[in-house]
């Protein structure tokens, strides 16, 4: 077979020389290799005290966005669910009643919006598909849990804090503060 | 009673009880463990007789090597089954009685004939010689080596030839499949 890279080493099947058969010399060589590792830099960091920075393109948990007046932007068009390659998103639409204008921006809204974080592959296609700027992937990695049910994030879990009621939390969630 | 005497009686009692337990215990593994206790008691006696070398060699060879081999064999034998029923034939019983009796005879004769076990006191009565402990240096390694390689060199070499032949025999049996 033609070599694809020049890194592959040809297996040496020559009979071992006397020094190799003594085995001691090789043990000494190995011991010097391990000894040299004492002086190498440790890649480990002390995790909870020190954290590594996330990559700027990191995609974490989903967030359902609100506008400046605190109304949900999602209109339950279903484009995100359609775009999702893992079929992680489910939603149920409902019509906005009179007197609910301060809650929902559009006339149609998502009564139920669920993301199954076990299915989600965090590709970000839902984000791109959304015409209303409603769904975003945050920088929070998905936390571990014990049950399958707890990985299905409901609308309440996904919604960003209301800017009119909790401006601080809203700013924090947007990463503005 | 001096400490030496207390130790002597304690060791003798230990040796006797353990030796009886070797015969009485149903489980062969327990028998071997009691036998090891016997060896320890005898090593203690050797130390009382100022024969440290014999004591230690007794431990190394008998307790440390031979008994381990015994344990090997017994542990690998079918151990879950009940001990075999005592239905020995008449002949075996008689053979056992005769061989045990002759051994006893030999031992009694040896004890009777060894003249230095008894001495005559001032009144010219025969009284048992008092046991002496921690005197004499024939058990020390240097003296023992000198005696072995000068006075007893022929028996010593013959016994080593015996061991060699045993080893050769073991190898031959092992090679035969």
């Amino acid at each position: 077979m033609q070599a694809l890279t020049n890194r592959a080493k040809v297996v040496d099947r020559k009979p071992m020389t006397f020094i190799e058969r003594l085995y001691l010399w090789n043990i000494l060589k190995g011991m010097f290799i391990t000894f040299s590792h004492i002086f190498k830099k440790r890649p480990t960091i002390n995790y909870p005290e020190k954290k590594r920075p996330f990559s700027p393109v990191f995609r974490g948990l989903h967030v359902l966005n609100r506008d400046e007046e605190g109304r949900e932007r999602c209109t339950a068009c279903g484009l995100c669910a359609l775009a999702c390659p893992a079929e992680a998103i489910t939603m149920e639409a409902a019509e906005r009643k009179i007197g609910e204008e301060h809650l929902y921006r559009e006339e149609k809204y998502a009564a139920r919006y669920e993301v199954n974080m076990l299915r989600c592959i965090f590709c970000g296609l839902c984000e791109e598909a959304c015409p209303k700027d409603a769904v975003y992937l945050s920088e929070t990695p998905a936390p571990p849990n014990f049950t399958r049910e707890s990985f299905i994030y409901k609308k309440e879990d996904l919604l960003i804090p209301d800017p009119t009621k909790e401006p601080e939390a809203f700013k924090k969630a947007k990463g503005l503060s | 009673m001096s400490i030496t005497e207390i130790v002597f009686w304690f060791l003798s009692g230990l040796a006797l009880v353990s030796a009886i337990m070797v015969l009485l215990s149903k489980n062969p593994v327990h028998s071997v463990l009691w036998l090891i206790a016997v060896f320890f008691a005898i090593s203690g006696h050797y130390i009382l007789l100022n024969a440290q070398f014999l004591a230690i060699v007794n431990l190394i060879v008998y307790a440390g090597a031979i008994m381990v081999l015994f344990l090997f064999v017994i542990m690998l034998m079918n151990q879950g089954s009940e001990p075999e029923p005592r239905s020995k034939s008449m002949w075996i019983k008689m053979a056992g009685a005769i061989s045990g009796g002759s051994l006893l005879l030999v031992m009694v004769a040896v004890i009777r004939q060894s003249a230095n076990l008894v001495v005559r006191n001032e009144a010219n009565d025969i009284v048992p010689k008092e046991a002496v402990a921690r005197v004499g240096d024939i058990g020390l390694i240097e003296k023992l080596g000198n005696v072995l390689f000068t006075e007893y060199v022929v028996p010593f070499e013959i016994s080593s030839v015996l061991f060699l032949s045993a080893m050769v025999g073991a190898v031959v049996i092992g090679k035969k499949e």
Binding site: L24, I27, G30, M31, I33, T34, F35, H37, I38, K40, K41, R42, P43, T44, N46 | S2, I3, V29, L33, I36, Q52, F53, I56, V57, L59, I60, A63, G64, A65, V68, L71, F72, M75, L76, L140, I141
Partner: protein, 353 residues
């Protein structure tokens, strides 16, 4: 009959000190094992329990004590408990004949830093080492588990195979010293030139030392000979059915053995409590400080050997069982025999000259 009660008290204190020191050192060997493993593998090791994780052994011990004590239903209860006791006892008993230092003077009494200076010290060590097999065999058999039994037999056959090479390699050394007493062997080495350094037996018996070292690795069940307790491939080993502190005793006995064999190697081959390039007899007026120098020298040597044990453990992979037996019987024993014969010939030749 009068008993020298002060001598009894002195020996009692000495024994208590030696036992405590070996236990503490074994404790911190577990810590340094983790730390050295981490260093050699570019990790950090225990850092959380106390400064540099120094309280980690305490936490480990506490954990072992809190675990459930399980005695299997079909196990032989008495022997099951006896096994770890024997292992621990055999590990502790060896330290009786080791000279840990010279002589110190306490309240006008000359106290030897050695529990018992018997004239058969080296043989005593062998006797105790050969008894260590029983702890393993009894534990493995009493568990009433076929895997434990097989592992126990494996461990015991390894131990008795390497005892042979160990003994033969030492005989050459005894030819040279002409004494079996550990203190005599050390004093002879201290008499060498360069403050004792040229008297070290390792310079005259390098092959014997190498064989002894390899056999010591095998006796302590350390990598590359740790088949008796190959956690990750041969199902744990003879202590498979053990839990809680009884398991802890088995593991602890291994660390004590490691400490003791380091001390024995330092004593027999590396001059014991002899500080190299430092003439002890010229500084006899230092008194107790001289003994301290000796203890420090021995500690340094022992520390190096313990490090060597761990260094090798994290470098070399485990032997296969047939390789183990081949190395023991077909390589080490003949080598040790050859070493013995050559040393004997040279000693005789030098004596004749």
């Amino acid at each position: 009959m009068n008993i020298d009660w002060i001598l009894v008290l002195e020996k009692f204190l000495l024994i208590a000190t030696v036992v405590t020191i070996s236990l503490v050192i074994a404790m911190y060997e577990t810590w340094s094992e983790r730390k050295i493993a981490a260093l050699l593998q570019d990790r950090r090791g225990p850092t959380r329990a106390g400064p540099f994780g120094l309280f980690q052994p305490l936490a480990d011990g506490l954990k072992l004590f809190m675990k459930e004590e399980i005695i299997p239903n079909s196990a032989n209860r008495f022997l099951f408990i006896l096994g770890p006791c024997l292992a621990m006892m055999a590990a502790m008993m060896t330290s009786a004949v080791i000279p840990f230092g010279g002589t110190i003077e306490v309240a006008g009494r000359q106290v030897d830093l050695q529990v018992a200076d018997v004239n058969i010290g080296v043989l005593y060590v062998f006797a105790v080492v050969s008894l260590g097999v029983y702890g393993i065999m009894i534990g493995g058999w009493a568990s009433n588990n076929k895997f434990s039994l097989m592992a126990a037999l494996r461990a015991a056959s390894q131990a008795i195979s390497y005892e042979l090479a160990m003994g033969l390699s030492l005989i050459a050394l005894l030819f040279m010293s002409g004494s079996l007493s550990m203190r005599d062997i050390v004093t002879q080495q201290m008499a060498g030139d360069w403050g004792g350094f040229l008297g070290w037996n390792v310079l005259y018996q390098p092959l014997g030392f190498l064989i002894f070292l390899i056999a010591a690795f095998a006796e302590c069940n350390r990598t590359p000979f740790d088949l008796p307790e190959a956690e990750n491939e041969l199902n744990f080993g003879y202590h498979q059915e053990y839990s809680s502190m009884k398991l802890g005793f088995y593991l602890f006995a291994e660390y004590i053995n490691m400490f003791i064999s380091s001390v024995i190697m330092a004593t027999l081959f590396f001059g014991g409590y002899d500080m190299p390039f430092f003439n002890e007899s010229a500084h006899a007026h230092w008194g107790n400080w001289l003994a301290l120098v000796g203890i420090i020298a021995l500690t340094l040597k022992v520390g190096f050997f313990i490090f060597l044990f761990m260094w090798v453990r994290w470098t070399i992979p485990r032997f296969r069982y047939d390789q183990l037996m081949n190395l023991g019987w077909k390589k080490l024993v003949p080598l040790a025999l050859a070493n013995m014969v050559i040393t004997g010939a040279v000693v005789l030749w030098l004596n004749d000259k």
